[in-house]
C-alpha cells in the first residue's frame, strides 16, 4: 500500500520539475506525513491506497506549488540566456548587414518564448526576461551602429519604433504572468463544495474522520472485529494494524 503513496509522490515530484530542490523535498515529505497521518486515522496502512485515490492529481498538486515557488536558479539563468540569444538577432540592423536574414521571424520566436516564460515562470521572471530582451536589443543596436560608423540607422522615428517594440516584449511576458498570478490567487482559496448533507453533518451523528465519505468496500474494507489496542503514551484506542497513534503520533508496536 505504501507503494501507492510513493508512486503518487514520485509523480508529484516529476511534475514539479524545475522547482528549487529544497522546496520539492519539503513538499513531498509533508504530503507523505499527511498521507500517513490520514491512514492512521482511517485504519492503518491498508487505507493508503484509498486515501491516495481521493487526493488531487499529481499534476494539479504540483502546479499549485509551482505557482508559489516558481523555477530554480539554474532554469532561471537558462531562460535569461535564451532570451538574450534570441534578442540579439531581433535587432533590425542585421537585415542591413545581411538582407537574406529575417529578424521578424526571430522577433516572433522571442514573443512566443517570452509569453511562455510569463505564463509559466511568474511575474518576477517575466520582468527579468523582458528587461533583458530590451537591454540586449539596445546594446546590440549601439554596438553595430558604432561598428558600421553609420549612426543614421538609429536616429529619428526608427529609434522610437525600436523602443516601442522592446517595451512590447516586456508586456508580452508581464501581462500573462500578472493575469495568471491574480487568477491563481483567487483559486488558491477555492474550497470544494460538498452536498449540503455532508457539508453540515449533525454534531450528534458519529463523524468518520478526516473524510466524511466512507471508503468504498471494494477498495478498502477494515478487518472484521479488529482487535483493540491502545496508545502507550496517551491511551487512545486504536486498531492493532495502526502503526502511529492518530492523536499523538507515537509509534505503536
Amino acid at each position: 500500500m505504501t507503494q501507492d503513496m510513493e508512486q503518487y509522490l514520485s509523480r508529484v515530484r516529476l511534475w514539479m520539475f524545475g522547482m528549487p530542490r529544497k522546496a520539492k523535498n519539503g513538499i513531498v515529505n509533508e504530503l507523505r506525513a499527511h498521507i500517513i497521518d490520514s491512514s492512521n486515522a482511517q485504519g492503518g496502512p491498508a487505507s493508503i491506497g484509498y486515501i491516495v485515490s481521493q487526493m488531487e492529481s499529481p499534476r494539479r498538486t504540483a502546479n499549485k506549488y509551482k505557482q508559489i515557488y516558481g523555477y530554480g536558479l539554474p532554469l532561471k539563468i537558462l531562460f535569461v540566456v535564451i532570451t538574450i540569444f534570441l534578442a540579439i538577432w531581433t535587432v533590425p540592423i542585421w537585415e542591413i548587414v545581411n538582407p537574406s536574414f529575417s529578424t521578424n521571424f526571430v522577433f516572433l520566436l522571442l514573443i512566443v518564448f517570452l509569453f511562455v516564460i510569463g505564463s509559466r515562470a511568474g511575474k518576477k521572471m517575466a520582468l527579468v526576461t523582458g528587461i533583458a530582451a530590451l537591454l540586449t536589443r539596445f546594446i546590440i543596436l549601439g554596438l553595430i551602429a558604432a561598428a558600421l560608423g553609420d549612426f543614421a540607422v538609429v536616429q529619428g522615428g526608427g529609434v522610437f519604433v525600436f523602443l516601442m517594440a522592446s517595451i512590447f516584449l516586456i508586456l508580452v511576458a508581464y501581462i500573462p504572468a500578472r493575469t495568471i498570478e491574480k487568477w491563481e490567487d483567487k483559486r488558491a482559496w477555492d474550497i470544494p463544495m460538498q452536498p449540503a448533507s455532508q457539508a453540515y453533518p449533525s454534531p450528534y451523528a458519529p463523524q468518520p474522520y478526516p473524510n466524511p465519505r466512507p471508503a468504498p468496500q471494494a477498495m478498502y474494507s477494515p478487518p472484521p472485529n479488529p482487535p483493540a489496542n491502545s496508545c502507550p503514551r496517551c491511551g487512545t484506542a486504536i486498531f492493532i494494524t495502526t502503526k502511529y497513534c492518530p492523536e499523538c503520533g507515537t509509534r505503536v508496536v
Binding site: I68, P203, R251
Partner: protein
C-alpha cells in the same frame, strides 16, 4: 436558487478561510493534518479542507511572512512540518479579527433592521 446559495457559501468561505487558519495556528504550533482536524471540529464540519487546498495555502502564507515552519521528528521517527505564527501573522490576525467583528456586526444590523 440552489446555485446562488452555493456560490455565496463558497465566496464566504474563501473570504474567511485565511482568518480561520491563522486563528487555529495562533493557539500553538501545528502540523497540516492537525490543522485540518481542528478546523473541521471547531467549525462543526463547515470548513472541511482537503490537503490540496490546505498545504499550498500554508506555503503561500509562509511565503508572505505570516507563518514560519519547522520540521520536528517525532518519537516515532516520523518527521512533521509544524507551522506557527510570525509577528506579522499575529498582527494580521488581530487586524483581521477586528475587521471580521465589524463586518459581522454591520451585516447583522442590516439583516435585522426593521422594514
Amino acid at each position: 436558487m440552489k446555485n446562488i446559495g452555493e456560490e455565496w457559501t463558497r465566496e464566504l468561505k474563501k473570504g474567511s478561510i485565511q482568518l480561520c487558519l491563522l486563528a487555529v495556528i495562533s493557539t500553538g504550533r501545528k502540523y497540516g493534518f492537525q490543522i485540518i482536524k481542528e478546523l473541521r471540529e471547531m467549525s462543526s464540519g463547515y470548513y472541511d479542507l482537503k490537503e490540496g487546498t490546505l498545504y499550498p495555502a500554508l506555503h503561500r502564507l509562509e511565503k508572505r511572512g505570516y507563518l514560519k515552519s519547522q520540521w520536528i521528528t517525532q518519537d516515532s521517527g516520523m518527521p512533521r512540518k509544524y507551522y506557527s505564527l510570525t509577528k506579522k501573522g499575529l498582527k494580521a490576525l488581530e487586524e483581521a479579527r477586528g475587521e471580521w467583528s465589524r463586518m459581522v456586526s454591520s451585516v447583522n444590523d442590516v439583516l435585522e433592521a426593521k422594514k
